[in-house]
Amino acid sequence: MSQHEKMAWWALASGILIWLFLLTRFTEGGRIADLPADHALGTYIQMIVLWIVASVVPAMFAAKHPQQTGKDERDRAIDALGDRWEGYVVVTAINVLIVHALARALYSDLTPSVPMPDLSSTTGLVFALLTTLFLADAVKRAIVLWQYRR
């Protein structure tokens, strides 16, 4: 397994763990809780710190072993494909949230069959947007790993 694959696994695993951390902070009893803004802000700052720590570890390894972590044209092509899919996921997820928000406003008496966050609350909106970012990053890492493995 190349160092790039190991880094993609690390990024995927750390991203999932940080999202699970968010999930425990933003939900209560399986539903998104309407938390005070200071609690949401504190969780967001903690998430940023965790994300920086998770990013620093591979960066330190890359600085120590530049010959193992240098990227060639195939690595860059795989990264570009991952970035493209990350963009697709962001666009799709944002559009799903827009349609959900509009449908909720238009048909307030209907209950969605799929559990969706309440975008009218700060916590729901923040969690939905952060989940979009983590989902997009996870898809990118999965595409990168698949490309290295195929």
Binding site: D72, E73, R74, D75
Partner: protein, 53 residues
């Protein structure tokens, strides 16, 4: 010459050389020329194009 040696000569990783050998990755023209030069061959001695249709 090992795959790692060849990769080092042409500025690619060993994994990329393996992927090219296995026909799982089509190199750029630049890399193809570098590989041909490393073998002291012409590009079309090293690479052949097979149309899929």
């Amino acid at each position: 010459m090992t795959q790692a040696d060849l990769g080092e000569r042409v500025g690619a990783t060993r994994q990329t050389i393996i992927a090219i050998e296995a026909e799982k990755y089509a190199p750029s023209l630049e890399l193809a020329f570098k590989l041909a030069r490393a073998f002291e061959r012409r590009v079309d001695d090293v690479f052949q194009f097979h149309a899929k249709d």
